[in-house]
Amino acid sequence: MNRDTVLWGALLLPPVIWFLSMETNFALAPWACAFGWKFAMFVVSGISFALNAGLALAAWSQWKSLGQNWPGDEGGAIPRAGIMAILGMMIAGMACLVTLAQAVPEIMMGACQ
């Protein structure tokens, strides 16, 4: 996979993954109450977290390969790729954080509350 594909993936996929996991868990809420079983919610949140963490890692490895420089406003493909890698890391990290925050009620609350 070339660098730009990884960078675009790390930028665009985390919000999509997080949104799908939130929607799925929201749809699972009545089902979890009916069957008294929250495990499916944990699985969905776990997959979302793992995928987003993986994307953050992929963006970080790209940044590492670019020299780990904090990009300024220099022209050219390398500084531009650097800022995309940093943004990818941060957006995927943010998606991980939101997924974790949303997993707290899954852990703390009863399925029928």
């Binding site: 730009d4 939130m22 929201f26 050219g76 493909a77 009620p105």
Partner: protein
């Protein structure tokens, strides 16, 4: 002829003749025909952007007058200045106007005007679509106010929940007019979003790679994607589900016919919450631009700011259920939205801290736009804090549908969007008119608006906590709400005085303001490289980015593009990521067809309020309009 990037000092393209001839040719190629007919053919972004701004401001004034009428009615108990029915129409029209006819179109108008200038290009990517979008917005607004003036104004709130808005409880045409007005304004918003995305990604100045994109352009790129994901939802809710339930008795959301009103709420708020960020994110771009120019340094933490904009946008799509906490949804499901609602404070906080760090480390010049920025920070932080409170389900239940919520969203929307917008008016007025606004009057305006705003909306927190519910047209004296309501009403009139001063400043400065020159604030972005006001072609030679802030780069580092034809509407298309020149594109010229198409489609849409069959002639009319629009012309101006 290939475009060439030339070093400064070589800016006269020998193929273009003298500079004067070159300017005249550009003027001829980019001007629209004169007179009344010509007015309807304009497609340049500055003309259309300015029309958006003026029209949206006119609707803002209408919405403001409605607010004053409401505040007059609520000033004291047992008041009968307005009837209950008239009050219902006024609060619905106020909310609808401010959300659909002022806030979003105003932000779009500013972007249509500013983005091509900031990118260093001559127009938006789809100029005729741009004109079409404006006329659809105008006709939608006229439709709503035609209803208001004929006592057919909507009276079911700006969200029009069924079953209240269904055929049983709202007979007549009031809700139909509201629902079809949504169609007009959402088509307009989608037109602008499409053209801004294409313009930002494909028409940037050479060498303006993504890491050099101005933060305002980032904010409009992100906002435009939000529009594309969010706006279709409200069209599904209003134009498809609600309108069809009312006109052809479908069963989507009408409980009397087996429909599900909660489905409407889900779909509406899937649009409705992101709508807040669709309004707010462009304002963040204004603030960044103003702070940069007034501290004369780049915003601290550029990547963090872009992250915060993108994070706000994507988390903004995960909050809609917090408008429905009182509907009896599973509590564990509601808690996901509590978590997301609190997480969005992180992205807002990042931006506040980045601006504060920029101000702290820069050389601040306290002109009027900076006053509005500081006012924004104060008010928006207060609104954000009550937002975090409302994310909590127990507190939300306690204050749901009370004036506490009214206070919260006015702090967020006026503080978060209107204060930055007024700052932006003061900041870009010299670019748009060539004259400076009066500074003293500007600062007086700010203080009057700031004091009036807090006097109006702060007491509403207290009223909400004391149990005053929204959307009541009067209240008995024993409730103990008189004093706070009277204070809020006085505050509303003070805001009106601030607004009148602003208008006076705009009008008087147009004639008597000091000449601005190209870059009166010594700002760094490319719009300040154009003349003030910009000619229809924007730049004599297209600029080349020399960094994130080209205007702050040494003169010897600034280059321009030559080799472009000046006898036709030619722009440069560049690559998405690194803005490398790819090819020259000839944009279409002035045309009457966008106006005519909007007129035909709009007339048809108005007909559909009275009968579903109007959709058939509307489709034919749209087809006729589009055939005229795309009819190929003799390629006189495409000769090599």
């Amino acid at each position: 002829m290939t475009p060439i990037i030339e070093a400064p000092g070589e800016t006269v393209d020998p193929r273009a003749g003298t500079n004067e001839e070159h300017r005249k040719k550009l003027e001829r190629a980019w001007s629209r025909p004169g007179r009344i007919f010509g007015f309807f053919t304009a497609t340049t972004h500055t003309a259309i952007g300015m029309r958006y701004i003026i029209t949206a401001f006119a609707f803002f004034l209408a919405g403001g007058i409605e607010a004053l009428l409401m505040r007059t009615q609520l000033a004291f108990s047992n008041n009968h200045f307005l009837s209950a029915d008239r009050y219902n129409q006024i609060f619905t029209t106020h909310g609808t106007t401010m959300m659909f006819l002022f806030a979003v179109p105003m932000m779009e108008g500013m972007a249509v005007y500013l983005v091509p200038l900031m990118l260093g290009t001559r127009n938006v990517a789809f100029p005729r679509l741009n004109a079409f979008g404006y006329y659809m917005f105008l006709f939608g607004g006229l439709l709503l106010y035609a209803g208001v003036l004929t006592n057919t104004g909507p009276d079911v709130g700006w969200f029009a929940y069924p079953p209240l808005s269904g055929p049983q409880y709202s007979p007549g045409k009031r809700v139909d007019i509201w629902a079809q007005m949504i169609t007009f304004t959402e088509i307009s918003a989608l037109c602008v979003a499409t053209e801004l995305i294409a313009t930002i990604l494909k028409m940037r100045a050479p060498r303006m790679s993504l890491n050099r994109l101005p933060l305002y352009c980032w904010s409009m790129l992100i906002q435009s994607f939000m529009v594309i994901f969010a706006m279709p939802a409200v069209m599904v809710a209003s134009t498809i589900m609600l309108l069809l339930d009312r006109t052809v008795a479908t069963h989507f959301v009408n409980p009397a016919a087996g429909g599900d009103p909660l489905l409407y709420q889900h779909v509406f708020w899937f649009f409705g919450h992101p709508e807040v960020y669709i309004i707010f994110i462009p304002a963040l771009g204004f603030v960044s631009s103003i702070v940069e120019a007034h501290t004369r340094r780049g915003v601290f933490g550029y990547p963090a700011m872009v992250l915060a904009l993108a994070g706000t946008a994507f988390i903004g799509f995960g909050l809609w259920v917090h408008h429905m906490f009182a509907t009896g949804l599973p509590q564990i499901g509601e808690s996901f939205f509590t978590a997301a609602s609190m997480m969005i404070a992180i992205t807002s906080g990042i931006q506040i801290f980045c601006w504060l760090a920029t101000i702290w480390t820069g050389r601040v010049r306290m002109h009027t736009p900076m006053y509005f920025v500081l006012g924004f920070i104060f008010i928006f932080v207060m609104g954000g804090l009550t937002g975090v409170m409302l994310a909590s389900v127990p507190l939300d239940w306690q204050v749901h549908d009370t004036f506490f919520v009214v206070a919260h969203f006015h702090y967020v929307l006026i503080g978060g969007a209107v204060f930055p917008l007024f700052g932006a008016f003061h900041y870009w007025y010299p670019k748009m008119t060539g004259r400076m606004m009066n500074e003293t009057l500007g600062k007086i305006e700010f203080w009057i608006l700031f004091i009036g705003f807090n006097m109006t909306f702060f007491p509403m927190h207290i009223l909400g906590l004391k149990g005053m519910t929204r959307r009541i047209y009067t209240y008995p004296p024993e409730m103990g709400w008189d004093n706070a309501n009277a204070l809020a009403t006085v505050g509303a009139y003070i805001i009106a005085i601030g607004g009148i001063l602003f208008i006076a400043n705009v009008l008087s400065s147009r004639k008597t303001g000091a000449p601005a020159g190209r870059n009166p604030w010594d700002a760094g972005t490319l719009e300040w490289a154009a003349d003030s006001p910009p000619p229809p072609y924007n730049f004599e030679y297209l600029p080349v980015a020399a960094g994130r802030y080209t205007m702050w780069a040494p003169a010897e580092a600034r280059a321009v593009v030559t080799g472009m034809r000046d006898d036709r509407r030619e722009v440069l298309v560049t690559s998405i990521m690194d803005a490398e020149p790819q090819h020259r594109l000839v944009l279409p010229g002035s045309s009457f067809w966008p106006f005519l198409t909007a007129l035909l489609v709009g007339g048809g849409f108005v007909g559909t309020v009275f009968g579903f069959n109007w959709y058939y002639p509307t489709a034919v009319a749209a087809g006729v309009g589009l055939i005229g629009w795309f009819w190929p012309k003799a390629p006189r101006d495409l000769r090599p």
